[in-house]
């Protein structure tokens, strides 16, 4: 399942890059993120609650940042287990382009969901993935814009 999109953020590319590497900002933006801790360079462990309709599953897993090209692009990927509910794996390739004083953020997301949650929720996975991606990048744009104007 693949998705992509574009957002415009009123901040310089270097600032946006800083935000993309800040665990506190990521925690605010990852939908349902309850906790995130830094385990090492570019590695985090996270607890995320995924809600799809009546389902509510807590995933614990790792988030890592790879393929970093400052301040242009990186890949944020995560892998988590929700116990009996199944597992989820996914990532987003993020690319930043400077446009005057603003930054254009392009992303493409890929997700793989397996186990019981995938069997039962198969008809909902693409809609839900799109919703979660929009929530993440929408919130990120909001947080990044706010901290610039603040």
């Amino acid at each position: 399942m693949d998705l992509s999109g574009e957002y415009r953020i009123p901040a310089s590319r270097e600032r946006v890059w800083e935000f993309l590497n800040d665990p506190d900002i990521l925690k605010q933006c990852i939908p349902g993120c309850e906790a995130i801790a830094k385990d090492g360079d570019d590695k985090f462990s996270a607890t995320v609650v995924l809600r799809i309709g009546p389902m509510k599953v807590r995933f614990t897993g790792n988030v890592s940042l790879t393929d970093k090209v400052y301040p242009e692009s990186y890949r944020i990927s995560g892998e988590g287990s929700g116990g009996i509910a199944g597992h989820a794996k996914g990532g987003a390739n993020v690319r930043l382009t400077q446009d005057g004083s603003e930054t254009i953020l392009n992303y493409s997301v890929d997700t793989h969901i397996g186990g019981k949650i995938a069997q039962l929720g198969s008809r909902l996975i693409s809609s839900t993935s799109k919703k979660l991606a929009d929530q993440f990048f929408g919130k990120f744009t909001e947080v990044a814009s706010q901290s610039v104007s603040a």
Binding site: I52, G53, P54, L120, S122, S126, K131
Partner: protein, 264 residues
């Protein structure tokens, strides 16, 4: 299924108290989605507050031009209500095709619209009929109620008491069911009333039920299936899954809309 505390409420006020008194309580109104999810251990509420036995929110009332349906009314009760069949047969037809007989005798209209499954039937009827959803706190227009995939305007602790709508001049529902689940792969509810023509589509939109305004415009001048010949639904924003691609669904939207108009 994980263990859970079950509470049977006898009034809406009592249900609200039970709900706020528990750590992570869920309302149960038929349980045709929630119980199945809990059995799979994909949800773990601490408490369930059952609304199905609250007599004040059960039953159908047709008075003059206004229909009231209590939230705890089952699909089978809606399907078989004689007064409603005389006033708005489309909604009885819709209810008679939800799931299977077991689902129709347990599931309720309140449960269906509160869950707002993107493929549920009732949300399309509420939207097309311009219904009002009444809760224990306020009344919400259907246009403001369904806010997205499994999302509604309901706040935490808010309980649906019932829905009401004006009897339409003409209305019909046509759906293409998934052969296994009977969920709508695309369902279109068309209604013509004092407020004009409204067309609501379920089962197709990635973000849940939506109004198809192009069709509404085409039908407002000429309420006939041929008025939709030149209109086509945009596949962008429609669901795509193993059962049907978004292009296929876009075509279904038009076909179901035409069938609904012809049946109205």
């Amino acid at each position: 299924m994980y263990s859970v505390n079950y509470h049977r409420a006898s009034s809406v006020d009592e249900a609200a108290k039970m709900l706020s008194g528990a750590s992570e309580a869920k309302l149960l109104s038929g349980g045709q989605t929630l119980i199945a999810t809990m059995k799979q251990r994909l949800a773990q509420p601490s408490d369930l507050v059952d609304l199905r036995h609250i007599s004040e929110i059960k039953g159908v009332d047709v008075r003059g031009n206004i229909v009231n349906i209590g939230a705890a009314t089952t699909h089978a009760e809606v399907a078989g209500n004689a007064a409603l069949k005389a006033a708005c047969p489309a909604i009885c037809h819709l209810a008679s095709h939800i799931g299977d007989p077991a689902v129709r005798h347990m599931g309720t209209i309140g449960g269906s619209i509160a869950n707002n499954d993107p493929a549920a039937d009732y949300p399309s009827a509420m939207l097309a009929l311009g219904a009002t959803i009444h809760t224990n706190k306020r009344s919400i227009a259907a246009d403001d109620f369904f806010t997205g995939l499994f999302e509604t305007a309901l706040n935490d602790g808010e309980i649906i008491k019932g829905v009401s709508f004006d009897v339409p001049e003409k209305a019909a529902y046509a759906k293409f069911p998934n052969p296994a689940s009977r969920y709508a792969m695309t369902g279109v509810f068309v209604a013509k009333g004092a407020g004009g023509v409204r067309v609501a589509v379920t089962g197709a939109g990635s973000n849940g039920v939506f109004r198809w305004t192009d069709a509404e415009n085409a039908l407002s001048g000429n309420f006939s299936a041929s008025a939709l010949d030149g209109v086509s639904a945009d596949a962008d924003g429609l669901m795509s899954d193993i059962h049907a691609s978004s292009d296929y669904r876009a075509n279904l939207v038009k076909v179901m809309a035409k069938r609904a108009v012809a049946a109205a």
